[in-house]
Symmetry: C2
Subunit: 145 residues, 2 copies
């Protein structure tokens, strides 16, 4: 198990890829994205449909169509992508899976996990989708399996 679901991992990698690949204002097709991030094409298609409905990515059908992102979306925090796919359980849920866990009825690890969750949330809130373009362009970072 990772921190994110597989679906969410693909979602994050795909928005990084789309952001990087369409910096010049172009669009990129599902096949190229799937290859670029080592994901199953049709599974990724579902994820992008979902992200599209939620306004994270844009798409156009037909010749020279494909996926892209507008400038305001590129500046959104990564937390928005995670929340769109995995929900906010990672930021708010109990580390031990207790639905009733709260300040007044805490699990034993309540305070410890509060810190962890805060770390994760803050990290994802302060990172924007587009800020990784530079390193991807330079080939310093990688999105393939």
């Amino acid at each position: 198990m990772g921190i994110f679901s597989k679906t969410c991992e693909y979602a994050i990698r795909s928005v990084f890829f789309i952001a990087h690949r369409t910096e010049n204002g172009s669009r990129v097709g599902i096949k190229e994205i799937a290859t670029g991030i080592s994901s199953p094409e049709h599974f990724l298609a579902k994820i992008l449909q979902d992200l599209s409905k939620k306004g994270i990515v844009k798409s156009v059908k037909g010749p020279h169509g494909g996926f892209y992102m507008d400038e305001s979306t590129l500046q959104r925090p990564l937390a928005d992508v995670v929340e769109a796919i995995d929900g906010n359980g990672l930021f708010t849920g109990c580390g031990l899976g207790l639905v009733s866990c709260s300040e007044s009825k805490p699990c034993p690890l309540h305070n410890e996990f509060k810190v962890i969750r805060k770390n994760i949330h803050e990290m994802l809130l302060k990172t924007t989708i587009k800020e990784f373009n530079g390193d991807l362009n330079l080939g310093v970072t990688n999105l393939k399996k």
Copy 2:
């Protein structure tokens, strides 16, 4: 999705429960544990069999049998329980699921996740299984759903 698998959540809650419930040197049966942590009894049985094989809990069959933990195990860090069930992927794996992710071929979030993973690992290494007994005895903390 939580940080841990459901199996691991039950494992942690059960070791907390056993530690707390057998402080006086007694043993506690699977039914009482399952009730005490709101888990499916037979599913938990499998988990405890696994923890038993790995030396995290001890068990004796027959009348007045049940589960308990010896003093040295009670002082082990929670990280040992997590690693026994979920493995060390949480501490070492790539946040974006890339098997080839490394210092020389990092994913875009490599450094960010290094911090997160370190936080989680250190927290689980410095907490011992038995240190939560006090609050459980006082009824301050809770293990039930």
